[in-house]
């Protein structure tokens, strides 16, 4: 499906699906890249997310109806020749120290699913995830999809602060908090690698459609990579 609708005097949205699906996220990431490459300064923002691509344009440099036609053609071409594009899916691997000292919600998830903490870690680190959206805070990537056997709803009361690098689960999504923020996800570990840097371009390794794997590491490796243990968990 494809539907393009105006949002404001300077924005439109392309809808490409009705439900969350990691395969769709990969396509949306590719189409968003295609749009960035095919248009110049008339587009100000191209923001892909789960099932949509939001576009903000310059009101004097672009006209909604003309843009709509060009975008429609671009998306049609993508779907017609999708297989020919040979998009090699990019994968990044992030080291994660899964432990009670960095993942205080591990026992809760294990209890919820009547399994062991080791099972939770094993299942979480076995899957390959796809970045479905980036938002909430700079560089925060929503990754799908968590295996149903370790999925768990958000905490009823969000924590007032989480250390940067915290790895969380919320329903069937997982994510690494790139910076220290409040958050309500179930925390199971920590990634010692910095995932957001305003002095670098790109500022984050994530982009929508990218595949992400998690590699469990030991406590020693965690410290060697610059990780620190936070002692203020509640």
């Amino acid at each position: 499906m494809m539907d393009i609708q105006p949002i404001s005097e300077t924005a439109l949205i392309i809808k490409l699906g009705d439900y969350i699906d990691t395969q769709l996220a990969v396509k949306i990431g590719d189409i968003a890249d295609g749009i960035r490459n095919s248009f110049a300064s008339e587009l100000i923002e191209v923001i892909p997310s789960y099932t949509t691509i939001y576009i903000q344009y310059h009101p004097l440099k672009a006209d909604y109806y003309e843009l709509k036609k060009r975008l429609q053609a671009l998306v049609d071409t993508f779907f017609l020749s999708g297989d020919l594009l040979q998009n090699v899916s990019k994968v990044i691997t992030l080291p994660i120290y899964y432990s009670l000292e960095t993942g205080p919600d591990l026992p809760g998830i294990a209890r919820f699913h009547e399994c062991t903490v080791d099972d939770v870690v094993h299942i979480h680190s076995q899957s390959t995830y796809v970045v479905c959206a980036i938002g909430f805070s700079p560089g925060f990537a929503f990754l799908g999809a968590v295996d149903p056997s370790i999925a768990m709803p958000r905490k009823t009361e969000p924590r007032k602060m989480l250390p940067a690098g915290s790895v969380g689960i919320a329903d069937r999504q997982t994510a690494v908090y790139p910076s220290s923020t409040p958050g309500g996800w179930q925390i199971i570990g920590n990634c010692p690698i910095s995932l957001v840097d305003f002095d670098k371009t790109p500022m984050s390794p994530f982009s929508v459609g990218l595949s992400v794997k998690f590699q469990p590491i030991s406590r020693d490796e965690f410290f060697e990579l610059g990780g620190t243990v936070w002692s203020h968990w509640k």
Binding site: S8, I13, V46, S49, Y50, I55, I134, P138, P202, M203
Partner: protein, 313 residues
């Protein structure tokens, strides 16, 4: 060169330019002036490019000491602009001598003042902009500054240009372009997003009600109290959010998303407030009475285009 020293930042002073564009896909808010109209006039009065950074002074009570002679343009709210304690009025250029004290009183009408100098203030650009988005810890004088990325007491503001004293520039904004920041606002709304999913009753209530601007409003979102607008569903799959989007969370109290809005959101949205109307909204005090009226995309687009063309945005 140091031009102005912050003696008292008052409630809130931020450095702003046109905003950080093109980083939304990484989750960065754009920021930028809450009242783009007043901001543009301040740069226009000095013959600046529109991207020259300015101070956005919210809520008044701020004080600055001139470290050298400087020409300013001050636009926006009526915050009682004073030089050495003498009222000087706004929406015009002002010349300060070295040692002069520029101060602002409590707001009488409006909420935000824009202060421009020739060529703008000097600060480290991050992704092409110095715009402050305090939630993201980005912009302004930098996160290691005394007040984080906000402008704080004792900060010395440097100019980019060496020629900031321009006695030959004496301009004021024609009265017909100076808005009246009143206690009642009518906002033009472009219906979009999930508008068609709202019930006929919710629609009618949305346009027939007088809302009140909540004091729980900031650069991210303006909350409205009053009529409860029942959303058609509790959430939607998170999607890109436009400036001015009117989102309706489960409690039925609409939130209008302003310059520091998050990039993605999962609440049902009724549409977007026309961008030029956001400038007046940005100056509204809590308690201001707000009504919505439907506007077509074409009409709103035409007005915005003339604004962009006039200021060469």
């Amino acid at each position: 060169m140091v031009t102005l020293e912050v003696i008292d930042p008052g409630m809130l002073v931020q450095l702003q330019d046109l905003g950080r564009e093109g980083m939304g896909y990484q989750g960065l808010a754009q920021g930028g002036p809450m009242d783009l109209h007043a901001y543009c006039w301040a740069n226009y009065l000095l013959g600046n490019s529109m991207s020259c950074s300015q101070l956005e002074i919210t809520g008044g009570q701020a004080k600055f000491l001139a470290h050298r002679a400087v020409t300013l343009a001050v636009t926006g709210a009526d915050l009682g602009v004073r030089v050495n304690n003498q009222p000087v009025g706004g929406w015009k250029t002002i010349h300060l001598n070295k040692g002069d004290m520029l101060s602002f009183l409590f707001p009488r009408k409006g909420l935000r003042v824009y202060l421009a100098i020739p060529g703008g203030f000097s600060a480290q650009e991050v992704f092409g902009s110095v715009a402050t988005v305090s939630r993201d810890g980005i912009g302004g004088l930098g996160a290691n500054n005394s007040a984080g990325c906000l402008i704080g007491r004792g900060d010395c503001l440097k100019s980019i240009s060496d020629q900031v004293f321009r006695p030959e520039i004496n301009r004021m904004v024609p009265a017909c372009f100076i808005p009246e920041y009143g206690l009642e606002l009518r906002l033009n709304l472009i219906e979009s997003y999930q508008a068609s999913a709202f019930s006929e009753e919710s629609r009618k209530r949305f346009y027939d009600s007088n809302f009140t601007l909540s004091s729980n409003s900031d650069r991210m979102g303006y909350r409205l109290d009053g009529a409860v607008i029942k959303p058609p569903f509790s959430g939607v799959i998170s999607e890109g959010i436009a400036l001015g989007a009117v989102q309706v969370p489960e409690n039925g109290q609409p939130i209008i998303l302003m310059r520091d809005h998050q990039t993605l959101g999962g609440y049902p949205k009724f549409g977007c407030v026309a961008q030029l109307d956001l400038n007046k909204l940005a100056q509204a005090m809590p308690g201001t009475s707000i009504r919505f009226q439907l506007v077509s995309l074409e009409t709103a687009g035409k007005s915005l285009k003339s604004f962009y063309a006039f200021f060469n945005l």
